[in-house]
Each structure stands twice: as structure tokens, then as C-alpha cells.
């Protein structure tokens, strides 16, 4: 099993191959539809975005259920973010050709998290901090500190796509 840490470095990203399972640790940022529509208000170099809007947090807990949402809805916004330095994305489902091309061009990576397993993923989140857009409620941008978050490389920096085998 491969262990990687954020911020992601290009030399590590290029080693990852579609289909490989990895454990990710470090800080990742939640952002989905509305945050993408507004803008991601920080430097994106080395950053990993997690397409996720968690449930509310029970008292004494760090976060609620926090699985991935469908990545395709963010496709229109993604190429420009990759151009601005975004290194990785975590979500579920396939991406558009434009996103695959941009991932390849910018040497980035797209991961899958276990889809529909938000309760299970809860335990990999060690800390949560609000970064931007609290008015978006669950869709606000949070910095999540994760430890050994299990992911699958879906689209690698050479544009290889796990879904070509399956679909």
C-alpha cells in the first residue's frame, strides 16, 4: 500500500498509477458546487480538494458522515483550477474528457473515495477547520486533517483512467 501526504509534490504524483490504492494523510479541503461557483479563495499549489459536504457534527465528534459526492458536477470548473496549481481531487464517478486532459497536462491526480460510505470515512478525519463561506452551510470550505484516508487512484498524471476497464 502506498502512503502519500499533502501538500502533494509533482515527483510523487507522477509515480501514481490508475487503479492503485493509496492512504492519504495531511490537510485536504472540502469544496463542491457552490464553492466552485464562487471561487476557491487560496493558493492551490499542492492542494487536494475533496468533493464533500458532511452532515452536521454530533457533540464530542470531529465531523459527521463525510463521503464523496459526484465529481462530474464540478467538471466545468476543474480545468482552470488545475491550471492554477491544484494537485489532486477526491470524489466519486468519472470525469469529462476536458478534465482528464487537464489532469494530464498539469500532472495532477484524481482519487476515488469509497462511495456511499460516509459513516465509515468519518474515522479518518482527525480535525476540521472552517476556511471559507460559512453561509454555504454544509457546502462551506473546510480544511480536514486526515490520517490514512483510503483512496483509489482513478485518473493518473498520464491520463490513464480506471473507468476505461470497467465501463
Amino acid at each position: 500500500m502506498i502512503r502519500i501526504t499533502t501538500p502533494l509534490k509533482k515527483e510523487e504524483i507522477v509515480k501514481l498509477k490508475a487503479g492503485e490504492e493509496v492512504f492519504l494523510s495531511g490537510i485536504i479541503y472540502t469544496a463542491r458546487d457552490q464553492a466552485h461557483k464562487k471561487s476557491i479563495p487560496f493558493d492551490l499549489e499542492g492542494v487536494v480538494i475533496y468533493y464533500c459536504a458532511p452532515t452536521r457534527t454530533m457533540p464530542g465528534q470531529i465531523i459527521g458522515a463525510c463521503g464523496p459526492t459526484t465529481s462530474r458536477r464540478m467538471d466545468n470548473f476543474t480545468p482552470s483550477l488545475l491550471k492554477a496549481g491544484l494537485s489532486g481531487m477526491i470524489g466519486k464517478g468519472n470525469r469529462s474528457k476536458e478534465v482528464v486532459d487537464a489532469i494530464k497536462k498539469q500532472k495532477a491526480v484524481y482519487f476515488l473515495a469509497y462511495a456511499g460510505c460516509g459513516a465509515l470515512i468519518n474515522k479518518y478525519v482527525k480535525n476540521k477547520k472552517l476556511i471559507a463561506y460559512p453561509e454555504l452551510g454544509p457546502e462551506a470550505i473546510y480544511a480536514l486533517e486526515v490520517k490514512d484516508f483510503p483512496l483509489i487512484v482513478a485518473i493518473d498524471s498520464q491520463g490513464r483512467n480506471i473507468y476505461k476497464n470497467g465501463v
Binding site: A53, A65, T69, G116, Y163, G166, V167
Partner: protein, 276 residues
């Protein structure tokens, strides 16, 4: 007339919302276990295992099975001999609000579809039906929008054959591909009017995934077999299980038409019911 207090309905709906979002129904769990046995690759097995483990964690910790706790749909069957003491609609909406707040679920509902705005827990979408008798039956279906976005309706010609219907359903699943959390449960509504076919498709998801019904059983099985040849697989990574069930509901229709609607559910098909 049997009198039922609205407050009682509110509290029971709150509990049903919590149960629906934290306890995966036993028929869905059984179908997933069957899928585990069918899958051959280590990765597919691991992913089904994760889904089953997720259901276990949710139940144990009282966490939502999925962070998308849906736009809850309520299917209400009111016995015509029931008299509700109080405001039923308000009791149902308050019950959902109360349950979702207490369960620390997600406030995913925006008040306006165009201007969006800040999201909250309600309103739920409520479907009412009047039935004979003096019971009140309500099913809560907190379906997420990843799969709701893949819904489809097609108005066929009345001369269309079964194969065309089958191909349409399979095509819709193919289009959903890996995006909506497979393995899926497919609800199909055939007949009625356009909006009624959509309602039937969603209501079909309320039936047990493992228990097929008589008239359309063969078609359900045929469609399920075709879907499982698509090789979309668990979480879209290939394999034998693209769907764990196909449920069809039918209704009489017009001589000029044949509406067919498809409602796709993700693997976390959540529902809970109450009978008062």
C-alpha cells in the same frame, strides 16, 4: 372515525427519519451480502465489504449512512376513517425537521431552486393517498441526489414492445455509469400519465429488493440480467454487480401512450415506515 393526534405523528416521523438514515434495511443488506459472494476480484469484494461495514458503523454510532441524507420523500397513506387532530402537513414537516436536527443529518434543502440561498432540513416532498380503513401508514425515503439526478422519463408509443422498454431502462443505467454509487436498485414505473409514471418508479423503490412480484417478475429479472452485463460494477470499477434489484410498478394507461419512468437508487437505499 379514529382520531390521531398530529403531535404523535410528528414524533413518530422524527424517529422514522433517524432510523431511515442510520439503519440500512435488512433486504438491502441481504442483497449486498449476496453481491459480495458473487464478486470475484479482490477490489470489488473489498468495496462491498466497505459498504457493509459502513452500514454497521452507521448503526452502531448513530451516524448517517451517507452524508447525503437526501431530500426526504414521504409516502403517506391515510385511511378514510382517520381523523387527524391538528395540522397533518405541518406535523410531517416538523417531524422531519426534528428528526434531521436530532440526528445531526445534513441540511441539504434550499428554499428556492433558482436563487438557492441558505439550506435547511425541510421541506420534505410529501405524497398523499387516501385508502380504505382507519390506519395511517407513512414511509420515509431519504434518497440522495447523486442518484436522483439520474432519473428519466420516456413517453413510448403504445405499439412499443417489451424489448424497447428494457433497452431504455438499461440505457439509463448505462448513462448513470459509475457516478451514482452502484450497485444500484432500479425503480421502474410503467403506465399512468407522465408524472404518475415517475411517482410509480420511485414507489417501486419502497418494495423489498429481494421480493419480486408476479406479473412483471420476468421483466424485472430480464432487466436485472441485462444491467449486470454492463460491467459497471461495485462503485463503478467493473464486476458482476451493477444492480442488486429491479422493481417495477405498473398502472393502466391511455390507448395513445406508454409512459416509462426510471428512478435509480444508490446502494444505500434507505427507508423506514410507521403505521399508526
Amino acid at each position: 372515525m379514529r382520531v390521531i393526534n398530529a403531535e404523535k405523528i410528528r414524533d413518530l416521523i422524527a424517529d422514522a427519519c433517524i432510523k431511515a438514515n442510520t439503519v440500512l434495511p435488512s433486504d438491502v443488506l441481504a442483497a449486498l451480502k449476496k453481491a459480495y459472494a458473487l464478486e470475484k476480484t479482490a477490489l470489488s469484494r473489498k468495496l462491498v465489504e466497505a459498504i457493509i461495514e459502513n452500514a454497521g458503523v452507521a448503526k452502531k454510532k448513530g451516524l448517517a449512512i451517507c452524508q447525503d441524507t437526501g431530500l426526504p420523500a414521504l409516502f403517506v397513506e391515510i385511511g378514510q376513517d382517520v381523523k387527524i387532530n391538528g395540522n397533518l402537513e405541518q406535523a410531517l414537516q416538523k417531524g422531519v425537521e426534528q428528526g434531521y436536527r436530532k440526528g445531526y443529518f445534513r441540511d441539504s434543502i434550499v428554499k428556492d431552486p433558482l436563487s438557492r440561498g441558505r439550506s435547511g432540513f425541510t421541506p420534505a416532498v410529501i405524497h398523499y393517498e387516501i385508502k380504505p380503513g382507519d390506519k395511517l401508514k407513512i414511509v420515509v425515503l431519504p434518497k440522495g441526489f447523486g442518484c436522483e439526478n439520474k432519473s428519466a422519463l420516456k413517453m413510448f408509443n403504445p405499439t412499443a414492445d417489451i424489448k424497447q422498454i428494457k433497452d431504455f431502462v438499461v440505457e439509463i443505467v448505462k448513462k448513470a455509469g459509475p457516478d451514482a454509487c452502484p450497485p444500484y436498485v432500479i425503480g421502474v414505473g410503467i403506465g399512468g400519465t407522465a408524472e404518475f409514471a415517475c411517482l410509480l418508479a420511485k414507489k417501486a423503490l419502497l418494495n423489498k429488493v429481494t421480493g419480486h412480484r408476479s406479473l412483471v417478475t420476468k421483466l424485472e429479472e430480464k432487466i436485472l440480467n441485462e444491467i449486470n452485463k454492463l460491467n459497471i460494477g461495485v462503485m463503478g470499477l467493473g464486476g458482476k454487480t451493477t444492480a442488486i434489484g429491479v422493481n417495477i410498478l405498473t398502472y393502466p394507461t391511455h390507448i395513445a401512450g406508454l409512459p416509462v419512468a426510471v428512478s435509480i437508487s444508490c446502494h444505500a437505499l434507505r427507508r423506514a415506515s410507521i403505521i399508526i
